[in-house]
């Protein structure tokens, strides 16, 4: 099966007069049709930058220094505005982080959804048909169609996010990028919105990139997971395998899971990852995680590790390389090496 979205060696730098922020440092990502990929990472890891790079909506200060983003074998980097306008909304739609600010306050929500429908209206629908379609979309996100005439300020946060989802779904896109769609919402509304998104995703068979820092959301809705740290993807794999504690993981992934309380075992204190996120303006020489890693070796401080496969997991780490590919590896990992 061919990939719907393929990102290769993507580097993005935010350049300002004072400093250069290395937001993305060589991202490789693949997404297949109908698949949901979760991108997890802490604040500033570059999750949103990936999303905006795919949409080609990066801020003016951002420079894509190298790499390619291919959607359905169409290169998006350097594509003309007109080509991009055809991709945005119709093929790739985005759900933004903060529903409070991502709707135009001076337009009715109905008009905002309608605009999306009209922008990608290939069949020259009549006004009545468009109206019908908008109605249907509102029904799909469980908002009464009478509320179309209202303005965003009349809606609560959860309802606004539904409108944003309605807009994203309006043209039945092949790929939806959801950038922390539930961060601004409280927990009960969060689960409603997630359920809605999952239902619609299944119904329309769309692919999805779910960006979040909440591993619970990932567990609920994703097929595959990519763990990000300081502008790099340190680990990717199937959901079950990334969440499987018996397998070997990147120290960062292990750290993330240690920081989540376990319902079934008693524990007094959670183990946080030491230190703070690496400063993207001044990244270390070797592995970006070396400053915080509890398995850090000399080589980690000097040489940037490469991505290796461990079973179905792809992990970027020196420690695992030595542990499992070098001499003293256990049986389980040798088996895995044979497989790859």
């Amino acid at each position: 099966m061919s990939n719907l979205l393929e990102i290769k060696d993507l580097h993005v730098v935010y350049k300002t007069r004072e400093e250069h922020v290395f937001a993305l440092n060589g991202i490789h990502l693949e997404l297949q049709k109908g698949e949901t990929l979760g991108i997890v990472g802490e604040t500033g890891a570059g999750k949103t930058t990936i999303a905006l790079a795919v949409m080609q909506l990066l801020a003016r200060t951002a420079v894509i220094t190298s790499g390619s983003i291919q959607y359905d074998s169409q290169e998006l980097i350097g594509a003309s505005q007109r080509e991009l306008q055809k991709v945005r909304g119709r093929k790739i739609a985005m759900i933004f982080q903060d529903p409070m600010t991502s709707l135009n306050p001076t337009m009715t929500v109905g008009a905002q959804v309608e605009e999306m429908v009209r922008a990608h209206d290939l069949e020259n629908l009549s006004d009545l048909e468009i109206d019908k379609k908008v109605r249907k979309i509102f029904k799909a996100v469980e908002i009464h169609h009478r509320r179309r005439k209202e303005f965003p300020h009349n809606f609560s946060g959860g309802m606004k996010q539904r409108v944003v989802i309605a807009m994203a779904l309006a043209c039945s896109p092949e790929l939806i990028i959801a950038d922390e769609p539930t961060t601004a919402l409280d927990v009960t509304v969060q689960s409603q919105v997630l359920r809605l998104m999952n239902d619609l995703k299944v119904k329309l068979n769309t692919s999805m990139i779910m960006i979040t820092h909440d591993l619970g959301i990932v567990a609920k809705s994703c097929d595959r997971v990519a763990i990000m740290y300081a502008g790099e993807i340190v680990e990717t794999g199937k959901l079950e395998e990334v969440f499987d504690k018996s397998l070997a993981h990147h120290p960062y992934t292990t750290g993330l899971f240690k920081a989540i309380p376990d319902l079934y075992s008693k524990c007094d204190r959670l183990v946080p990852i030491q230190g703070v996120a690496s400063d993207p303006t001044d990244l270390p020489d070797g592995c970006n995680f070396s400053l915080r890693c509890n398995q850090c070796m000399d080589i980690c401080r000097e040489v940037d590790p490469i991505v290796n496969s461990y079973g179905n997991l792809k992990i970027k780490c020196h420690y695992l390389e030595q542990e499992y590919k070098g001499g003293n590896c256990d049986e389980q990992s040798t088996n895995r090496n044979k497989k790859t």
Partner: protein
């Protein structure tokens, strides 16, 4: 919404009373009596007193003030000292010139200032942006009277293209309109640029781009519409300033408008005329501000919602008088 407008119109009343008081108080501080002003320094004191009595100047201050207020609400602003015509007639006959000047200059400053401001913001740090902002600063610092004189020197004396004084043809308006429009262009341009820079970076504009709609539509429909509020305020205020600023422009170009009338009446100490004009200007300014507030409601549904909410509570609670009556009834 209608309730809001009615309420605002009623609120104009106390404001006007306050304005009349200030104007009346200040002008009554000026030395000299109307009789002396009308008849000149060499007239007999008896005749002066007779005229003062006729005009009610021998009455105490508060009585004169009350008389004046009553007359104003009857639509009578008194008679000028010199031509002995009703003040209101003078104002009405002069107003079209000033109004034309203000409207034309505002029109041109909008159609130049707004697009330039928008383009400067959309293409920030480009040549257009630098030119636009430099132009804005330049226009803002150049004094009107100096620029007017330069224009006259160049277009009237050197090129002999444009007439330097009078208002008999539309050509006469060209230079005055340019002079009054320039500072307005500067302020409208800067305000448009600032607010556009803000809105164009906002999340909903990014959402609009993510929809894949035309960039022009993103800029004008999504960004500009939201940036319009402060721009409308600036335009309204500029209208007020332009009308006030005509005092200088009109006297330089000898345009027979209200500005020139103001200068002449002050020079002649024609107090009823001065009071009338000041009152007229203030009223005009108040009405423009009211108009802007109403426009706000149409531009931003959130503001309309607050207006309507206030109306709702007002209806629920009843008016002040109804409430008072209800309270009194309860006591009895």
């Amino acid at each position: 919404m209608r309730g809001f407008i009615v309420r605002r119109l009623l609120l104009l009343l106390p404001t006007i009373l306050a304005i009349i008081f200030i104007v009346f108080f200040v002008t009554s501080l000026t030395p000299g009596s109307p009789g002396r002003i009308i008849l000149g320094p060499n007239a007999e004191q008896v005749n002066v007193d007779a005229i003062n009595h006729e005009l009610g100047f021998d009455k105490p201050f508060y009585a004169r003030y009350v008389d004046y207020v009553i007359n104003v609400f009857k639509g009578d602003l008194g008679k000028t000292y010199f031509t002995n015509k009703p003040v209101i007639d003078e104002i009405i006959s002069r107003f079209p010139v000033t109004f034309n000047l203000a409207v034309y200059s505002l029109f041109f400053s909008c159609i130049i200032g707004i697009p330039l401001g928008v383009f400067s913001a959309v293409k920030q740090y480009s040549i257009i942006d630098y030119l636009g902002t430099t132009l804005a600063i330049l226009l803002a610092v150049v004094p009107t009277f100096w620029f007017a004189l330069v224009l006259i020197l160049f277009f009237s004396l050197e090129l002999k293209m444009l007439p330097s004084s009078g208002a008999s043809s539309s050509l006469h308006y060209v230079m005055p309109v340019i002079v009054t429009a320039l500072p307005a262009i500067a302020s409208i341009l800067r305000m448009t640029r600032t607010t556009m820079l803000e809105t164009i970076r906002s999340d909903y504009v990014r959402t609009a781009r993510a929809k894949g709609i035309n960039e022009n539509k993103v800029v004008w429909y999504h960004a500009f519409k939201n940036a319009l509020l402060p721009v409308v305020t600036i335009i309204g205020m500029n209208f007020g300033f332009t009308i006030g600023g005509t005092v200088i422009t009109e006297s330089i170009f000898s345009l027979p408008g209200l500005g020139l009338l103001t200068i002449n009446s002050i020079r002649n100490k024609d107090i009823p005329q001065v009071m009338g004009i000041v009152l007229f200007f203030s009223l005009l300014f108040l009405l423009i501000m009211l108009l802007i507030d109403i426009l706000y409601a149409y531009l931003d549904p959130r503001i309309k919602a607050t207006y309507d909410a206030k109306e709702e509570t007002a209806i629920r609670k009843g008016t002040f008088f109804k409430r008072s009556i209800r309270r009194i009834k309860r006591l009895v």
